[in-house]
């Protein structure tokens, strides 16, 4: 059986395949296999017992909930930022555009301590909420803010290219037919950007459930209240409970697998609906 499906005159197939397979086996396949083995060794009942510990369940619920809220926030503001960057002219637009990638470039620990300091009760931003009895740092609200920060670029960078590709013809047709701008946005533009928006939202949701560095400083990490799922893993590791840690890790992988699966299904449904219309 030949590996190459179609023969090629270009050189370097063996070399590039060799480097790739060697590195990916060592870096990805082997470690993944080990984790599956480690979780399998503990057996289904112990696995179940670990992931149904009240502390673990509370963390799962917290991580999913806060990631979901961060996703909703960024679907709104991310789309707005992308829209403003593509459609309008304003001073320092290039600078603003470059700034959107800051959360990708800034190390998460730096983000974490900066946000924790800002939103602490005596911080620049936290002090404005303190008189109303609203605490942000060391509560789930702080987790939400950190997740909004780290995942903003996912939505903007997913929606922006789609908006750039749109020519004004459909919108003009809609306007000619008497649609208001809002109706045009809802009925013409939104369906166009929806697939990209879904991809961006799904990717960011998966990323947000696993986010660690930017969250742990502002979260306060109070068990059952503001302890996120990745922190459960590091906690178990500190107690040398390696199997428990791998059970939770496997559970996290299953969650992100389900998210990506749901995402693919909805993409597929969307494209089918678009196909039926055309």
């Amino acid at each position: 059986m030949r590996l190459l499906k179609t023969p090629s005159v270009l050189p370097g197939f063996g070399l590039s395949l060799g480097i790739t397979v060697l590195c990916l086996s060592l870096l990805v396949v082997l470690p993944f296999a080990m984790m599956a083995v480690s979780a399998a060794q503990m057996g289904p009942s112990a696995f179940w017992q670990t992931i149904t510990e009240p502390r673990v369940l509370a963390a799962v619920w917290l991580s999913l909930r806060m990631s979901f809220f961060a996703m909703l926030t960024n679907v709104f503001f991310g789309t707005l930022v992308a829209w403003v960057l593509v459609r309008y002219e304003f001073p320092f637009k290039n600078l603003v555009n470059a700034l959107v990638d800051l959360p990708f470039a800034l190390p998460t620990a730096v983000t974490g301590i900066a946000l924790a300091t800002l939103y602490a009760p005596n911080g620049w931003l936290g002090q404005w909420f303190e008189p109303f009895g609203m605490k942000i740092a060391f509560t789930p609200i702080g987790i939400w803010i950190a997740l909004v920060f780290v995942s903003l670029p996912f939505i903007v960078r997913a929606v922006q290219p789609v908006l750039e590709e749109l020519s004004g013809e459909y919108e003009e047709a809609a306007a000619t037919l008497g649609a208001s701008r809002l109706t045009t946005f809802r009925r013409v533009l939104l369906p166009e950007i929806l697939p990209a928006l879904l991809t961006g939202a799904g990717m960011m949701f998966a990323r947000a459930t696993g986010e660690f560095g930017s969250v742990i400083f502002i979260a306060g990490n109070i068990p059952m209240v503001s302890e996120i799922l990745p922190l459960i893993i590091t906690g178990k590791l500190e107690q040398y409970d390696v199997q428990g840690a791998s059970a939770v890790a496997l559970f996290m992988l299953m969650i992100s697998f389900v998210i990506l699966f749901v995402l693919n299904i909805s993409q597929w449904a969307l494209s089918k609906r678009a196909g039926a219309k055309a």
């Binding site: 590996l3 499906k5 990805v28 020519s167």
Partner: protein
């Protein structure tokens, strides 16, 4: 009429400014204020204290470890990235889809889970890790583990930058070089590399920024041995938890400067690429 001025398909100026205002206010509060806070907190105690916390022995050893890690991770991942991009864009082979899926994995795996995988593989309690330990090689809670975890977290960046570009460029120039008698390596150095130069540079910049700033994965494998296995982000955490805020933010400010430099370089590379693309389109037209 351009899309931005056609009144039928744009918003009244007032509404435009309202939307711009809301978007900019959001970015200001969410992104600019935290960035400014890093520098403000770092310089709060004055310039002398700032410099003193950077030349502190522990800080120096963390900076050295971070530089060592980047010096190993960046070249390895640059070579791996070029090899993967070449493989995935120039050949059609069995298992290609699976490789593409693996390429996206570090993006969807929590950094903590990534670190844990290496603990499970190389930890002293495992068969393999135990054997290595008996040979005098320690991976977990030592520098090799930090390098491995960083390699894992950053390996897709170069390939992710190169693949779309190499796909759109196609292989006709490379085939032409071969027909004209170039050897494989001549083709690579004279045709492929010049074509992908800017995307490669950008991928390397991104890999470098991420390898110097990685926290979650490295934190799990490092063991936090002071003066030995702390990278800059890990030392930031330790100092912060010990209420040494000036020290924590001083080190953070270096990482923040690195992030700003990354964004500036990214902007420059994007502009060069856009200009080249426009020039190529003019030539075709």
């Amino acid at each position: 009429m351009s899309m931005k001025t056609n009144p039928n398909i744009t918003e009244p100026r007032a509404l435009q400014w309202l939307l711009i205002g809301v978007a900019l206010l959001f970015l200001l509060l969410m992104l600019v204020v935290p960035l400014a806070a890093v520098f403000f907190e770092a310089l709060k105690g004055g310039w002398d204290l700032y410099v003193a916390s950077l030349v502190d022995a522990e800080a120096k050893s963390a900076i050295r470890l971070t530089l060592i890690t980047a010096a190993i991770v960046v070249p390895v991942n640059a070579i791996l990235g070029v090899a993967m991009a070449w493989l995935l864009t120039r050949f059609d082979f069995r298992g290609k889809q699976m490789l593409t899926t693996l390429l996206d994995l570090p993006f969807s795996v929590s950094p903590v889970v990534a670190g844990l995988m290496f603990v499970l593989l190389f930890g002293a309690h495992t068969a393999f890790g135990g054997w290595l330990e008996s040979q005098g090689i320690q991976v977990i809670f030592a520098i090799p583990g930090i390098i491995l975890a960083t390699l894992f977290v950053t390996f897709p960046f170069v390939a992710r930058e190169l693949i779309p570009l190499m796909q759109s460029q196609g292989d006709s120039e490379e085939q032409a070089a071969l027909i004209l008698g170039a050897s494989g390596w001549q083709m690579f150095w004279r045709v492929t590399l010049p074509n992908i130069k800017w995307a490669l540079i950008y991928g390397i910049i991104l890999t470098n920024a991420r390898s110097m700033g990685e926290f979650g994965a490295v934190s799990v494998v490092s063991g936090h041995i002071r003066g030995e296995t702390n990278t800059v982000p890990l030392l930031v955490e330790i100092l912060y938890n010990e209420y040494q805020f000036v020290g924590a933010f001083a080190l953070s400010s270096i990482l923040a400067l690195l992030a700003i430099a990354t964004l500036v370089l990214q902007d420059i590379v994007n502009r060069i690429q856009a200009r080249k693309l426009a020039a190529a389109e003019r030539k075709e037209a």
